[in-house]
Symmetry: C2
Subunit: 218 residues, 2 copies
């Protein structure tokens, strides 16, 4: 049985390490969790003692093979609840995060099983992120930032990298949503901004930064 704090650390380490691909720094974790480096060191020692992370002093942390499934269960719960909030309770995709942060710690395998069933076994959350199954496995959609697409290249928006409320609200405003067909009509060399056609209908101008946060499949 993991504490709420332990679950949050594991999830953060999983995310920051890109699922275990690279070491994570103490400071990065501290930033992500709004805490201090000293607190992170404390907790890492504890998780290391439990075998859930790999850790060498001053050399960074990573999630361990034992830690991965624990992190993935939390991520699974978080994303299932997000689907519930948007699909059933009519939450807006920029309103779900804080609530899902709380709901993800509810501990009841039956609840999650039934929720998954109730939602029709969704594979992706409202931001396009894949939902791990009970075994921690998930589908990978090939994702490319729109910014890497050539002029006249196009694709379906499958996910957004930044899921912050301001960014999502901005996307709403200009009419970009998950599933939209985006076509890069022009790129401005000066600042890297793009002219994008949405669903063959509406043209919008977006900055390089925004473009980097839009992930499409070609």
């Amino acid at each position: 049985m993991l504490s709420l704090a332990e679950e949050n650390y594991l999830k953060t380490i999983y995310h920051l390490s890109d699922g275990g691909l690279k070491e994570v720094s103490t400071n990065a974790i501290a930033d992500h969790l709004n805490t201090k480096a000293a607190s992170v060191t404390d907790m890492i020692k504890k998780l290391n003692g439990k075998g859930l992370v790999t850790y060498k002093k001053y050399k960074g942390v990573n999630i361990s093979e034992d830690g991965k499934p624990k992190a993935l269960i939390v991520i699974r719960k978080h994303r299932l609840w997000e689907v519930f909030l948007v699909e059933k309770l009519k939450f807006h995709w920029d309103e779900v995060h804080e609530v899902a942060e709380q709901l993800e710690h509810i501990s009841s395998p039956l609840l999650i099983k039934r929720l998954d069933e109730f939602l029709g076994y969704p594979k992706f959350d409202p931001h396009g992120d894949p939902i791990p199954d009970e075994n921690g496995e998930f589908k990978f959609k090939p994702q490319v930032p729109l910014s890497e697409t050539d002029i006249n290249g196009m694709g379906i928006l499958v996910a957004v990298k930044d899921t912050s409320s301001p960014f999502l609200k901005y996307l709403d405003k200009i009419g970009i949503y998950i599933g939209a067909k985006l076509k890069v009509q022009d790129k401005v060399e000066f600042d890297g901004s793009h002219e994008v056609l949405i669903d063959g209908k509406k043209t919008v101008f977006i900055s390089r930064e925004v473009s980097e946060n839009l992930l499409i499949t070609e």
Copy 2:
């Protein structure tokens, strides 16, 4: 912002005091929360300091007028989640308690508003207990224990006093459910047990103890 522990104490004090009608003993709270009397004294002092309970040393505790709405919000959330679990996720009425104990602490007024809406503004939970509205008000159904009904008296089962899993499983087994029409056909003087007709169809024999836990409206 109340902590999880504070919320649980307030809820317990609200319940044990019958909504503020009588003083509650330190030991009763300790029993109910599976903790020790000394811990209860600690917490009571804290809640008293916040003005959420009334307390005089050695004289028992009660919920204060400021504490009531806080307790009622937790109770409202608990019961709404129970309805969700039973109606939407097909939980059995004896499986919901532990999960609802966790869900009741999720803090998001919007979530509760939307959940209430999604459930169709239910007024009673799966055990027949009334769900307070946003203002902490709730309907009172006149409730009488079946054991106090005379022979040939009848009524609709509106609630159960004991909501423990074994008791609810037993009721399922003999075919008694919320909404059933119960008629006392005979009372055995020897042990106080009853012969009860369910929905005019099936006759069952129940002990005095069971009868005392079935609440009907006449």
